[in-house]
């Protein structure tokens, strides 16, 4: 079995125009904010849609790491390890 070395990031439909239509992309491990910065190099514009200029997660975006809301973890400082699954979702749903 191949060793898992990457973090997998799920991209919601409204952001897929920025990822060439891909619903999932991968990145090397690191802090969430570093992973997002790396993704922004590969997919320009992605970071601005997810984070505010000062680095806080945008009000209408939720980010989950292995199904846990990062607001219950360390927010943008949350460390992502190989094999972690990140899901980026528009916040306004449900209720």
């Amino acid at each position: 079995m191949a060793t898992v070395t990457a973090v997998r990031i799920r991209i919601p439909a409204p952001l897929r125009p920025l990822t060439g239509g891909q619903g999932e992309v991968t990145s090397d491990p690191g802090s969430l904010k570093d992973v997002i910065a790396a993704l922004d190099v590969a997919y320009p514009g992605l970071k601005d849609r997810i984070l505010e200029p000062e680095g806080r997660v945008r009000e209408f975006v939720n980010i989950f790491v292995n199904e846990e809301d990062v607001r219950f973890l360390q927010g943008p400082e949350t460390e992502l390890r190989a094999g972690d699954r990140v899901s980026i979702l528009p916040a306004v749903a449900g209720g």
Partner: protein, 410 residues
């Protein structure tokens, strides 16, 4: 005809034609509906409403359904009960109960779902879906059955039995998810991209929410075309409170009711109080919590419209309080014993918080107060458990009555 012009992002103002979408493609902000109020004001009237059917559909011209045949179970125009006994118990003078526990599936959810099911059919979608804490589940399943549509419903696995049975009976695909509502909601927010379904509270959310405005329309009409001074509504996702607020403002804009200020206060369970906490802390953003409360229908730790609800409360001079589990049960019993209305735990929350707001002087004796009761007590019998049972068990002999009632028999 429809007065709906399109969708607009509440954050960046980007506009779109009507479509089953809830998120701005530019900034991911929430979308809202835009209506032509000038045309509405010129062509619609209170008289036409009063001549309409005895249901929420008497307001169909104000709803985003156009001329489509509506998916209707006979929802709405529920009783607005003057509640003098409850008022006395709360130390207030003018209290009304809007009893939405008596809708077709026993909660207010039939209002937003009636609109969402109708709109889904207009968009050519054949499957209704939702993430639900129980009340929405039953309503979506019932409306899908009525409309001849398929339904797929996701709930947390620990819901009350009446909510599970009361949903499954409609022949839906009911999927119990191992996790709380926020986990169910996250799963469904991912599923909406993968399946072409009408998730009523996700991709149809801008339309769905509009149905709850009829709670305000009916209240105003039942009060003789005027708004109350103060309303108290429960907060789960925050949609019903914001739409009640918007409903009164809309009627004022149409000139159908006087332009008086309506204070809007919110009620949450202490075990799931993200909006109450943000209100009391003076915070600008609502932070999520992990829910732990018997009020399962309000157990949304990350409310989608929490920020909007917070703004509505602050803007109108209302307040936001919370109630512990024992206070919730006490609230259910207070309403039942004073007014003969049996509400579920969510209504217990609303009554208990109204009591606290009256004690602290936020609800004032000179105000006309409307308390929104959004769900039926038969759905959450577990919350009362052994505290409600026979006063005595007797043999079928006359003297036995005297024995157990004593002097009270006279």
């Amino acid at each position: 005809m429809s007065y709906l012009q399109g969708l607009r992002c509440q954050r960046c103002g980007h506009t779109l034609a009507p479509a089953p979408v809830h998120i701005c493609p530019e900034c991911l902000g929430p979308l809202e509906l835009v209506y032509d109020y000038t045309a509405m004001k010129a062509t619609l009237s209170r008289d036409a409403v009063e001549a309409g059917p005895p249901s929420m559909w008497r307001y169909r011209s104000l709803l985003p359904v156009g001329d489509a045949p509506v998916v209707d179970l006979g929802t709405g125009l529920t009783p607005l009960l003057r509640a003098d006994n409850l008022a006395k118990a709360l130390g207030l003078r003018n209290v009304y109960i809007k009893n939405d526990a008596v809708n077709p599936t026993s909660s207010f959810k039939d209002r937003p779902v009636g609109v969402a099911a109708t709109v889904a059919r207009s968009f050519g979608l054949d499957t209704l879906a939702c993430a639900s804490t129980g009340n929405l589940a039953a309503s979506v399943a019932a409306h899908a059955a009525r409309a001849g549509m398929r339904s797929v419903i996701f709930i947390p696995e620990d819901l009350e039995q009446a909510k599970i049975i009361g949903t499954a009976v409609f022949g839906t695909k009911l999927i119990a998810v191992k996790g709380n509502y926020d986990a169910v909601n996250r799963l469904c927010a991912e599923a909406v991209d993968a399946y072409g379904w009408a998730f009523v509270n996700i991709n149809l959310r801008p339309f769905y929410g509009e149905g709850s405005k009829t709670l305000a329309y009916e209240t105003a009409e039942q009060l003789g075309w005027r708004a109350p001074d103060h309303v108290v509504a429960p907060i789960a996702g925050g949609s019903v409170l914001t739409r009640i607020t918007a409903g009164f403002e809309e009627l004022q804009r149409l000139g159908w009711i006087p332009e008086t200020k309506v204070r809007v206060s919110g009620a949450q369970a202490a075990g799931c109080n993200p909006v109450a906490r943000a209100f009391q802390a003076g915070a600008d953003r609502v932070q999520p919590v992990r829910p732990n409360t018997i009020a399962k229908s309000l157990a949304i730790g990350d409310p989608a419209d929490g920020g909007l609800a917070l703004n509505a409360i602050r803007r109108t001079g209302g307040s936001c309080g919370d109630a512990t589990d024992p206070e919730i049960v006490e609230g259910m019993r207070l309403l039942a014993e004073t007014e003969g209305v049996f509400t579920e735990t969510a209504g217990g929350v609303t009554v208990a918080v109204a009591k606290k707001l009256a004690q602290s002087g936020v609800l004032r004796p000179d105000e006309t107060v409307v308390i929104y009761i959004t769900g039926n007590g038969l759905k959450t019998l577990e919350a009362l458990g052994a505290s409600c049972g026979p006063s005595a068990t007797i043999a079928p002999r006359l003297e036995e009555i005297d024995r157990v009632l004593g002097s009270a028999a006279a």
